[in-house]
């Protein structure tokens, strides 16, 4: 029996799951605070812009966005399958392409800063 090539999909999914667990609730909270006009010290526009302007900052932001998108796409694919949607190839293609498109958009925006 041949070993599966699933790790290519699963490993970024697992990494994304960890990123989502650690970063996304904090990002949601900070974005909400910022939207309500309470920008925490050190997270003002100028310093966030400086972060997105640096190479390491770009890489970090891209990593968080791309891995989170990939993880969500794969989770949604499994959920579709569990709910009985058996067109797995189609579902996988649509969701992974959406995640890839989001990641490319993030890269383009980051490179423009």
């Amino acid at each position: 029996m041949a070993k599966s090539n699933k790790p290519i999909i699963w490993f970024p999914f697992a990494a994304g799951g960890t990123v989502i667990a650690f970063f996304i609730p904090v990002i949601v909270l900070l974005t909400l605070l910022a939207a309500l006009g309470h920008v925490p010290a050190g997270l003002d526009y100028a310093s966030m812009h400086a972060l997105a302007d640096s190479g390491l900052g770009k890489l970090l932001i891209f990593g968080v966005i791309a891995l989170s998108l990939w993880s969500s796409a794969h989770r949604l694919r499994c959920t579709c399958y569990d709910f009985g949607l058996r067109a797995d190839k189609l579902v996988a293609n649509v969701l992974y392409l959406a995640a890839a498109a989001g990641s490319i958009a993030a890269a383009v925006y980051l490179l423009r800063i």
Binding site: K3, S4, P7, W10, A14, C78, D82
Partner: protein
């Protein structure tokens, strides 16, 4: 001892006479602190000797009396009557073919269990004169929890992935393969990986976690499967990205 009138709705199926399974209602008086298995035993002794089910130890160690109780996989010797109100519905374990009444055919699980080689495969032959294998408490801790599996198959009845994809090797067999892979005395991991890292192995698992919720021995098979996924991913990257397959 205070007695309570218990109503049970038991799934019946006789392959010789029935074309489909049906439910039969029984009423029996049982001690309040009894379990569902006590109620079944009393039915068999006093009302209906034709009722079929498996059981042996009556103390949650043999793993024979697994059945669906109100839709949940449980050992009937560990399902306390005081936790159920109204009619208790008893069915055979989900996802396994029914042989008769509450008796299911475990052949698929047994075959999968054999395939994952759940026994020590020593790295090299060691004569008895060379003495015993020594293990530190830390080495024991890596696999000890997974030795507690009693092969009751409740995790297979709970696993929606096994229900959807019967070729999935499933929680208990993969957790037992992991138990031996984690053992410092063992050298059989490569042989087991051929089975558990295949498409029908660990990758069918979507981490629903129901296996760990229903496990009567608190084995946490879901954790074993996630550890197998990480180890198998590292293997894959080593085999495909490192020169010489990382050997």
């Amino acid at each position: 001892m205070k007695e309570r009138l218990i109503q049970l709705e038991v799934m019946r199926y006789n392959p010789d006479t029935d074309t489909a399974a049906h439910f039969q209602r029984y009423e029996v008086s049982c001690p309040e602190e009894g379990v569902v298995l006590d109620a079944l035993n009393k039915i068999k002794e006093t009302i209906d000797p034709t009722l079929n089910y498996r059981w042996s130890c009556h103390m949650a160690v043999c793993g024979s009396c697994g059945m669906m109780i109100n839709g949940e996989p449980k050992l009937s010797c560990h399902a306390f009557l005081r936790e159920y109100a109204g009619v208790i519905r008893v069915e055979p374990l989900a996802h396994f073919p029914i042989e008769r009444d509450l008796v299911t055919a475990p052949d698929d699980f047994i075959e999968k269990l054999k395939r994952v080689k759940p026994y020590l495969i020593p790295k090299e032959p060691k004569p008895i004169s060379a003495g015993e294998y020594l293990q530190t408490p830390a080495q024991l801790k890596r696999y000890h929890q997974y030795t507690l599996c009693i092969n009751c198959m409740l995790c297979y009845a709970a696993c929606p992935e096994y229900g959807l994809t019967p070729k999935f090797i499933g929680p208990a067999a993969i957790a037992l393969a992991h138990r031996y892979n984690q053992d410092s005395r063992d050298g059989g991991r490569d042989e087991r990986q051929e089975i558990i890292a295949s498409a029908e192995g660990v990758w069918e698992c979507t981490f629903v976690g129901a296996c760990s919720e229903v496990c009567p021995a608190h084995v946490d098979p879901a954790s074993a499967l996630q550890q197998v996924k990480i180890a198998s991913s590292i293997d894959w990257f080593k085999e495909h990205l490192l020169p010489g397959g990382g050997k």
